[in-house]
């Protein structure tokens, strides 16, 4: 009896406090909204938004709804996060491996990079790239072409656009290539397990992924041409590029700084992971006759990945959340478009902030579920 009470009372008190605090907040919110004549509800999402967004992946203008504006912001956030994650991973792995290099100069260079970029606030880096570094770029009319087709100017990066014909055939060929690679891998594993032979899976895969799409060009009627951006004069001193794809400087500054910043953390994860694999493992692998490549592929990497993945997932999440700093340089991400402009226009503070937070929350949770699944898949299977 006494024990039971001892267990229940603290819980009851805690719950009571939480309920009281929430009740207090809701009560006040109701009174405040009544006083100011605001009504609570999500109906505004279908209303016409009547504001424009600079950069959008889907068709959008002022006549679309607030929900559409929300989607525009969300897609922009996802775009920055995905590009940032890809660059940060590549850079982070290179730097992480470089930090373990026996070459003194290389590992010091990598260490310098890590210490330098991770000790400066991300916001400061974004400002630096956007307001200082990218502002030093040439005006559109003075820009030199890089490789003849890229134009890096103060107004953004202009790259050629792809113009596809029969794009679907091309995509089918890629899907076919991926499926056949998976089949071959399964077959190769079976062969290895039953006969102990190793098939050259890697080279077959590389071949397939090039040859099948190439065939689609030759036989399937796929054709690809480029639309190269061209300089156009609007007024005597105003120039602009037309055609191609233009990436706004906000996007460039944001992805660059996010990638450079997050790569330092990923590099540390990679370093810790590779160092975490015992020396004995490598020596044992070498002593049973595996060559250095096989040691890396079959022994070191599977074990290192197990250490690397959980913290790296955290870094991916951080990058996604940090992409909200976009609001500081007016890149139209979720926070700027929705929690900024839309909130100012509708005044629906509670609804909009809660939707924004929920969105980030579900983005984070879905990434972490995905990574947990992967992590479980590669974890040691104890019998």
């Amino acid at each position: 009896m006494d024990l039971k009470l001892q267990k229940i009372i603290p819980q009851l008190i805690t719950v009571l406090v939480v309920v009281l605090v929430f009740g207090f907040f809701t009560y006040n919110a109701q009174i405040n909204m009544e006083n100011r004549g605001i009504d609570f509800g999500y109906g505004f999402l279908s209303q016409e938004s009547s504001f424009d967004v600079q950069f959008s992946l889907i068709e959008y203008d002022g006549s679309h709804s607030y929900f559409r504006a929300y989607l525009v912001g969300l897609l922009n956030t996802i775009l920055v996060s995905v590009i940032g994650i890809i660059i940060a991973t590549i850079l982070g792995v290179i730097v992480g491996v470089a930090r373990l290099s026996p070459n003194y100069l290389i590992n010091q260079f990598a260490a310098f990079y890590v210490e330098f970029f991770r000790n400066i606030p991300l916001l400061l880096q974004i400002f630096f790239w956007y307001f200082a570094a990218l502002r030093a770029l040439p005006l559109p009319q003075d820009a030199d072409a890089m490789l003849g087709v890229f134009f890096l100017t103060i107004k953004g990066l202009y790259v050629p656009a792809f113009i596809w014909e029969n794009l679907n055939v091309f995509l089918y060929s890629i899907i076919a290539a991926i499926i056949s690679i998976v089949v071959i891998r399964i077959h190769a594993r079976k062969v290895q397990e039953t006969q102990g032979k190793q098939l050259p899976v890697f080279w077959i895969s590389v071949g397939l992924i090039f040859i099948l799409p190439l065939l689609s060009f030759l036989i399937g009627g796929v054709s690809l041409s480029f639309e190269i951006p061209k300089l156009k004069q609007l007024a005597t001193t105003s120039f602009k590029y037309e055609g191609g794809i233009s990436l706004p400087p906000e996007l460039i500054a944001l992805t660059l700084s996010l990638a450079l910043y997050t790569a330092t953390f990923i590099a540390e994860c990679v370093r810790a992971g590779i160092q975490g694999v015992g020396k004995g493992q490598k020596e044992a692998a070498a002593s049973i006759g595996l060559n250095p490549n096989q040691v890396l592929k079959l022994v070191v990497m599977p074990q290192a990945l197990r250490i690397i993945i959980p913290p790296t997932t955290n870094q991916y999440l951080n990058l996604t959340k940090n992409s909200s700093l976009a609001a500081a340089i007016a890149y139209p991400d979720l926070v700027l478009v929705f929690a900024g402009t839309a909130l100012m226009q509708t005044g629906k503070a509670i609804e909009i902030v809660s939707i924004t937070m929920l969105t980030y929350l579900s983005l984070s949770i879905s990434i972490s579920i995905l990574m947990n699944w992967y992590n479980k898949k590669i974890a040691i299977k104890e019998k």
């Binding site: 267990k7 603290p10 819980q11 008190i13 805690t14 719950v15 939480v18 207090f24 907040f25 809701t26 006040n28 919110a29 009174i31 405040n32 909204m33 006083n35 290099s101 026996p102 070459n103 003194y104 100069l105 290389i106 260079f109 210490e115 330098f116 991770r118 000790n119 400066i120 606030p121 991300l122 916001l123 400061l124 880096q125 400002f127 630096f128 307001f131 200082a132 570094a133 502002r135 030093a136 959340k321 940090n322 909200s324 700093l325 609001a327 500081a328 926070v335 929690a339 909130l343 503070a349 509670i350 902030v353 809660s354 924004t356 937070m357 980030y360 929350l361 984070s364 949770i365």
Partner: protein, 480 residues
């Protein structure tokens, strides 16, 4: 002398290869050096594209020649081992050496040689280098924000006093060492708050504080008579209730009159800014987020399911959202949740928001430490008859916190690096002040200098913190 095979450097012709290799390597370095420091190009007679890569080719051949194992020369062996193990490494080493040589002159000239330091107007900044005059002129703004110039001694004095009081731990004798935790956890933050509130802010003396002190004294006295089982809950609720009761129902009018004894000019928090604000915010968030985080870490490992779920919900919520939306919430949504006549200062709201946010991260770090402790520690403490609080305070937490020093330091670093985000609510610490100064029509075009200046300051702070945490980690490392 035996036959020389130039494709295969060997030990027999060591001196020949050594001389040739070093010569080629030195030539390549000299070429790049002259090129970058004096704009001379000794290979200028060659076609442009060849002249560009000639140092790499020469250096590569040079390094190839001197790559001789067990040569007997200690220095050569060191070089080979460290930068010249294979062809690939040799090229990378060369590239890095060349990049360093190439990048020194432009950086040096921008920072020092062509930079302008003198004067106090924009006119002196006509050169190609940095304009440090800009930083000099705006220095007070970057450090103190809009805080009135005549009053800035108050900030300096407070910070010096707090730094001195904070360093007490180094000078404490053995006798006082056991009180240090109490000092740092309770007394020091309290003194710091008094300094900030009365001195930097210039708040009227006695205005608000007396209630708190009276409430604390009364509840501590009564607390002696409370049975120990309920002491924890008693100390959570009673002082706050007492404080509210005193403030709103009992002494209100009388103490307001006493509060008119103000001496210093009131400086509203909106005028605070610059680096000093960065320090103030980081300091208080550091102090608050730690106990909150610890509480939720214990809550997450509690045996009571309801407390556990509430803690998990709290932690996962704050970890799932970006800080910028939390600050948005504190700015636009939080006032809606309070009674209409109840006003909380912007800075205080910011500190609360950042503290709660970082507390969730601290909680996860501490939980890691708690999980890493072997079960035996818990069981041993319990078998000695220790209760929950005694066990955690004397046995579990001291060990767990030692384990997580690096993690906590990382969280605190993240906190310091997150402070610039307060621009969202309109508070301007150093980065915000830079953005303001940058748009001043008299000083357009010096964004670079400002950001470099702030980056150097932040870098020094963060690097020092991470080095300090590393030392702390080494100091408290216990053998297991």
């Amino acid at each position: 002398m035996s036959k020389i095979n130039f494709l295969k450097p060997d030990k027999d012709n060591l001196t020949t290869f050594l001389y040739m290799g070093s010569f080629l390597f030195v030539i390549s370095v000299i070429d790049v050096f002259l090129n970058s420091f004096f704009s001379l190009n000794i290979t200028g007679f060659l076609p442009a594209s060849l002249s560009f890569i000639i140092p790499i080719i020469l250096g590569f051949i040079g390094l190839y020649f001197i790559r001789i194992e067990h040569s007997g020369y200690k220095f050569l062996d060191q070089v080979n081992k460290n930068i010249n193990t294979s062809n690939f490494n040799a090229i990378l080493s060369l590239l890095i050496i060349f990049i360093i040589i190439k990048s020194i002159p432009p950086i040096l000239s921008w920072f020092v040689v062509d930079a302008s330091f003198a004067g106090d107007s924009k006119d002196v900044c006509s050169g190609t280098g940095a304009c440090w005059t800009y930083i000099k002129v705006w220095f007070r703004r970057f450090m103190y924000g809009m805080y009135p110039n005549a009053e800035q001694w108050r900030i300096n004095l407070s910070f010096i006093a707090l730094a001195l009081l904070g360093s007490v731990g180094y000078f404490a004798t053995e006798k006082f060492k056991k009180y240090l935790t109490l000092y740092y956890v309770v007394i020091y933050p309290f003194i710091a708050f008094l300094f900030i509130f009365f001195f930097i802010s210039g708040g009227p003396i006695f205005f608000d504080f007396s209630y708190g002190i009276i409430a604390a004294v009364i509840s501590i006295i009564i607390g002696f008579f409370i049975p120990s089982k309920f002491k924890f809950y008693y100390f959570i609720f009673v002082p706050i209730t007492l404080y509210i009761a005193l403030k709103y129902f009992i002494f209100y009018e009388e103490l307001i009159e006493l509060g008119k004894l103000d001496g210093l000019n009131w400086v509203e928090t909106g005028a605070w800014g610059g680096l000093s604000l960065t320090f103030i915010i980081s300091f208080f968030c550091l102090i608050f987020c730690f106990p909150i985080g610890m509480a939720f870490a214990l809550g997450r490992r509690s045996d009571f399911p309801l407390i556990r779920y509430i803690s998990i919900g709290f932690i996962e919520f704050w970890r799932g959202v970006p800080l910028i939306t939390v600050l948005f919430m504190s700015a636009v949504m939080f006032p809606m949740f309070l009674p209409a006549d109840f006003f909380i200062d912007k800075l205080v709201r910011c500190i609360i928001a950042i503290s709660l946010f970082e507390a969730a991260y601290v909680a996860e770090v501490i939980r890691g430490g708690l999980q890493a402790l072997p079960r035996g520690q818990y069981e041993a403490a319990k078998s000695l008859g220790m209760g929950y609080w005694r066990m955690h305070i004397f046995v579990i937490l001291p060990q767990a916190l030692k384990l997580v020093i690096p993690g906590i330091a990382n969280t605190f670093l993240a906190l310091v690096k997150d402070t610039p985000l307060i621009f969202v609510v309109g508070l301007l610490e150093i980065v915000g002040m830079l953005n303001l100064a940058k748009t001043n029509p008299e000083w357009l075009g010096f964004a670079m200098e400002g950001y470099v200046f702030a980056a150097i300051i932040f870098w020094i702070i963060c690097y020092a913190m991470s080095k300090y945490s590393y030392n702390l980690e080494q100091k408290y490392k216990t053998e297991r």
